[in-house]
Symmetry: C2
Subunit: 214 residues, 2 copies
DNA sequence: TAAAAATTGTAAAAAAGGTAACAAAAAAAG
DNA sequence: CTTTTTTTGTTACCTTTTTTACAATTTTTA
């Protein structure tokens, strides 16, 4: 097997392809060309073909890609062909929004544990899940087989939460707190950052306006 | 003035620099070198210097950067030296989380209007804001001077919401719905997408595991 | 005061990523 | 059956982004 380092952005795009292929599948579309898919995904056909080429050959020349087949293959590449167990740290407004978000459950992700630092939130139930104190992270992560931690707690607690998750064996973290988590190198961290996006918009709007004035 | 197109990723990093400079400022740090800042931000010193070079010279050779000064300058570049007025579409769990999130208010962003499609949510008050029906978007955006729209409504309604916001004069949208919004080219869209981040983590975890097995 | 150390700004080199072009293969048309 | 059309996979090229290297400047040390 060749050792080609696959750029992160390729993975991002594969996820987008998968999402749009799912929609096509639901619409009953059997075959799609790279041109059509690129159009839907807002990219260009060569990019799609090249992205897929990192992993193999999934299309038929002169025909295109079979939607179901490509979806299956991309799912296999991304590792979406299994259930992933999530543990939530922080059951505030955002945490609750995530827990109640059915979209994830429909896509192979299930919250199996939830933690909070506020005493008044401990022991409340949300669906099948009972909120536990941070101190229970180590035990429950192992007990429930949490694979991915979702940090939606106040920034001051975020690093502590990350440390406890990692200590308990979690190797993947989605971090909603607006801080830079410091973790061992074997831990994968993805940040979801709303204010960053707002800042980008501000820049664009500001520079667009100053361009207009000129 | 030169016309240098500034890469989007540079803006993203500037926002990160600003965030970490704020923390340094609070800690009472006066001067910081590109080496130290890079270390904090998880990037490399040359990158910081080059990013800043797009916009001018903000440091002192042999000394470093004055924290307050650099923070002020980056703020000016990003357009954070004014209050930005946000309009929220979708007052579900996520929308509420965003509204109640005080972090934004501390950083120049204020929600001034909120909309929802569900009749039972109309007219409820959250803080100073009264939830209005989608049909009121056009009027209220103009009345309250909404500059940025935040879409946190179900995917099926997201495109409609975007269209109404744009029609009312909004030129920047932060989209939390997991769909590709189609808008006029003068409208800037930033997507915040957790499932995308989850997918990336899954890929990383999956490929790390298969590497271990080898 | 002179030499050494620290640190920026920037030019040049290297690496990465994206685009275009085209051979190969399949399907459709004539 | 042959030609034309469609479309993938892949190579080569081009563009963008990152990293390296170093002159210029300031501060610190001797």
């Amino acid at each position: 097997m060749k050792f080609v380092k696959i750029p992160s952005i390729v993975i991002t795009r594969l996820s987008t392809y998968a999402r749009n292929l799912k929609i096509l599948e639901q619409k009953g579309v059997d075959v799609v060309s790279s041109v059509r898919l690129a159009d839907i995904c807002g990219t260009n056909p060569a990019q799609i073909r090249k992205d897929l080429a990192y992993f193999g050959q999934f299309g038929v020349k002169g025909v295109g890609y079979y939607v179901k087949e490509l979806l299956f293959e991309i799912g296999k590449i991304l590792g979406l062909d299994k259930e992933w167990r999530l543990g939530l740290v922080g059951v505030g407004n955002l945490g609750l929004a995530l827990l109640r978000h059915t979209h994830f459950m429909n896509h192979g992700y299930t919250f199996v544990a939830a933690f909070d630092e506020k005493p008044e939130r401990i022991d409340i139930r949300i669906g099948d899940i009972e909120v536990a104190p941070l101190e229970a992270i180590n035990r429950l992560v192992k007990e429930k087989g949490v694979e991915i931690g979702v940090i939606a707690i106040k920034p001051v607690w975020a690093q502590k939460a990350a440390d406890m998750l990692v200590m308990a064996g979690v190797c993947g973290i989605v971090n909603f707190a607006p801080i830079q988590l410091q973790c061992a190198t074997h831990v994968f961290i993805e940040n979801v950052d709303f204010s960053l996006k707002l800042d980008i918009l501000c820049y664009r709007l500001t520079s667009a306006r100053s361009r207009q004035r000129r």
